[in-house]
């Protein structure tokens, strides 16, 4: 199999003769890029509201009622628990069992199985993963969920690193979600002081004379300046010194951020040309975070990543520069920065319409929405995501997952996308109910194509579908190159 999606690009580019999107195309484009794709009837609904007005509402999610989702998530008790409560309830039993087993693997396994499901770490993980899937699939605050996905990935914390599985619930709920429409500096500062990040990138343990430069490097390389942002190894080491003492109060009891003056390196330092005389404390790190948040290289790095997520894998330089300018001019206002991307002519260029390959999470959720699927149990969906290659909270390296499609375009992952499509449309995916035959009055190939993709299939795809069964037709459409793109 050659580049599986390449052919379609050519076809779509050739078809792109009119200069502007129609209103219907604009509605579909907005639903695809600023959300996880349309549910049946969404395109018409957005057209009725007016595309621009719908987008404006999406940019202010606090004004969108989301009662149905709130109700849905009520049964996930861990979503309302503090770090302290989660650690006490779900970490303490496993820690106790470990102590008791004293390194005896067989005994550990046996004792672990005796812990009631209600108190197993697995429960925290499953509820966390499930809420992301349910929200993306069902929330009316679609753009909000897109941005949560974007920022959780930007400030990636890996579920599999030690205590982090107990800290991610609060990290997403208390650190990231409340700040995705605020100022970048606030988000950066909150992640810097979050137990989840302090633990993940080891800063909690870095101290005077016993430096750990993991976080100091990644905050510059990944969170702010970018790898070509102009810092040196010396800057990394010096910033690590600045950040000594930024730690967690009693991590194994679910404690919060603490600055420990005794762990702090109070000597003189210079980072990125900024000099700190001896005798400083927590304000040094806060000042550096302020400087990093407002640095032109940061503006460019964030603008590039946002454009990659919302517009195309290789966005035009002029667009990135303009968005970076907005970022700088608005003090890193994330709502205005995102709006700058959406308001650009590049965002509405016909060449990007249905041209970007969906990331695994986008693909899976958009397919569920397209068939109007109802998620009773999100765990099988989470497993499908794993097979397609990007389990939620499962990126081990601090880079998170790539926003460029080349990372997901491979034969094995494609097979798993196709198998997911067939199971979903066939109503054989456990935990998700769907009835594709009921989507349209007459479930022909053409009618189902419009219902599922919002448009026509290419002739090449159209003629491959010969099976008359609605479930088979829908499965093939969901697996088709057309549906792989947004």
């Amino acid at each position: 199999m050659k580049r599986p999606f390449a052919l379609l690009t050519c076809i779509l580019l050739l078809a792109a003769s009119p200069a502007h999107m129609t209103e219907r195309q604009r509605a579909l484009h907005a639903l695809n890029r600023l959300g996880f794709g349309p549910r049946p009837g969404d395109v018409e609904r957005v057209m009725r509201i007016g595309v621009d007005r719908w987008i404006d509402r999406q940019l202010h999610p606090e004004g969108i009622a989301d009662a149905a989702v709130d109700e849905r998530l009520k049964s996930y008790a861990t979503l309302r628990m503090s770090n302290r409560d989660i650690v006490q309830k779900f970490y303490a039993p496993i820690a106790e069992v470990r102590r008791e087993a004293k390194g005896d693997e067989a005994m550990l396994k046996e004792l672990r199985e005796k812990i009631p499901y209600d108190q197993r770490p697995q429960r925290v993980v499953e509820e966390l993963v499930s809420q992301r899937i349910v929200r993306a699939a069902d929330s009316d605050r679609q753009l909000n969920e897109v941005m949560v996905d974007f920022w959780m990935n930007h400030f990636n914390v890996f579920l599999g690193k030690g205590l982090d599985r107990f800290l991610l619930t609060s990290y997403e709920r208390d650190v990231v979600r409340p700040r995705v429409w605020g100022k970048f500096e606030d988000l950066l500062m909150a992640t810097a002081k979050s137990p989840a990040m302090l633990f993940y990138l080891d800063n909690a343990r870095s101290m005077n004379g016993k430096l750990n430069e993991n976080y100091a490097r990644e905050i510059m390389e990944l969170h702010t300046l970018g790898v070509d942002g102009g810092y040196t190894q010396k800057d990394v080491t010096e910033l690590a010194r600045v950040l000594t003492g930024w730690s967690i109060a009693m991590p194994r009891q679910g404690g919060g951020f603490v600055f420990r003056p005794r762990m702090h390196d109070s000597g003189a330092k210079t980072v990125l040309g900024v000099r700190f005389p001896a005798g400083g404390g927590i304000e040094e790190g806060e000042r550096m975070i302020h400087i990093l948040a407002h640095h032109p290289a940061t503006a460019h790095h964030i603008a590039l990543q946002l454009c990659q997520r919302l517009v195309s894998d290789d966005p035009p330089k002029a667009l990135v520069d303009r968005v970076a300018k907005t970022f700088l001019a608005t003090d890193g206002d994330l709502r205005k920065t995102v709006k700058a991307v959406i308001d650009s002519p590049e965002f509405w260029d016909l060449r990007v319409y249905r041209a970007k390959v969906k990331a695994p999470f986008e693909y899976v959720v958009s397919a569920i929405r397209a068939v109007d699927g109802h998620v009773d149990d999100a765990r099988p969906v989470a497993r499908a995501l794993q097979q397609i290659g990007e389990p939620l909270y499962g990126a081990q390296p601090p880079t998170g997952y790539s926003d460029k499609s080349e990372a997901w375009e491979n034969s094995g992952a494609l097979m798993n996308r196709l198998n997911f499509a067939l199971a979903l449309a066939g109503n054989t995916l456990p935990g998700v109910r769907s009835d594709v035959a009921a989507l349209v009055p007459e479930p022909s190939v053409d009618n189902l194509a419009v219902a599922l993709t919002g448009g026509k299939l290419t002739e090449a795809t159209r003629k491959t579908i010969t099976d008359p069964q609605p479930r088979a037709i829908a499965g093939l459409i969901l697996g088709s190159p057309e549906f792989q793109r947004q």
Partner: protein
Amino acid sequence: MIDRRIFLKSSGMALVAGGLLPNVFVRMAGAATTGGKKVVVAIFQRGAVDGLNVVVPYGEAAYYAARPSIAIPRADVQDLDGFFGVHPALASLVPYFKEKSAAFVHAVGSPDATRSHFDAQDFMESGTPGVKTTEDGFLSRAIATKPAASPLRAVALGQAQPRILAGKANAVTIANINQFGVRGDAAVTSAFESMYGGFEAAKILKAANPAKLQPENGAVYPAAPLGNSLKQIAQLIKANVGLEVAFTDVGGWDTHAGEGGAQGQLANNLRNFGEAIAAFAKDLGSRMSDIVVVTMSEFGRTVRENGNRGTDHGHANVMMLLGGGIRGGKVHGKWPGLANLYENRDLAVTTDFRDVFAEVLVGQLGVTSLKAVFPGYTAKPVGIAPS
């Protein structure tokens, strides 16, 4: 554990089949072969493994001075040559070294100074350190210099296509060889085939059914991701599906804190790593004479331990080679010592990782144009896999 019978049997064959390389795999004359097909298996240790605790320069006092809490005590080091020894968790591989079937290259790495995991992995996989615009990977370029054979000639075991195999080789990425295929009826499968231009690789896999080929010679793979991947690579080799290059990766090496010494975090990872590779060699038995396993990692780690009994990002590292096409029983490369460190903190690079791969690719796969594989670079001899 090593199957003693194989080694006893093979030792008698040394003069017959040994040739220039006194390598146990070459001396083996068992019935099982790859049908003459040469295979390279590359394993990427993502996260930067601490090479100084993998192949320990136990003969150098500076090593112990730099690592008060995480050095591998002399008594625990498994000696290789009187100066270097391996971590005790790699004991399963020592017999292969003694039998001259395994070798190491120390102080090897990329000339680029980056200590970014992402950039360094990217450079190592593109094969063009310092050049970010390279679109394909060097293993793909290497295989693409040869005439197209099987659709399964280049396979990555894992979830995502690795950069190293991106490009014209049209490598196939497989997470699980048992599940590689569309689960639908004939009409559905053929429709998807038409949409995506054929599933040749899936068809061949289905016909060959490699999953039925269970480990041989009593090999037991650790029940962990690398063990599962290597077991499947072995199955592909045995099924004769035309595999020439296989790649897989394994994470968990970014030991910034609590690295441990003879025991602990790194030890546990290394044990899994060594036992998976040892199981692979045992499983394939005499077929190993046509196979070379190469390990790589983006950079090494600081010589001095950090404040958390771990190590930070460094520079030079160690590579391991195992198989029939190599000069085993030796730690190759020029040892720069720990007195003069790169940027006053890291082991200096004295061998470019491309030199090692150049010899393996020429010697093993018969690649004729190294210029296409490593553009703008002239490989220097290491003497590890002479062609």
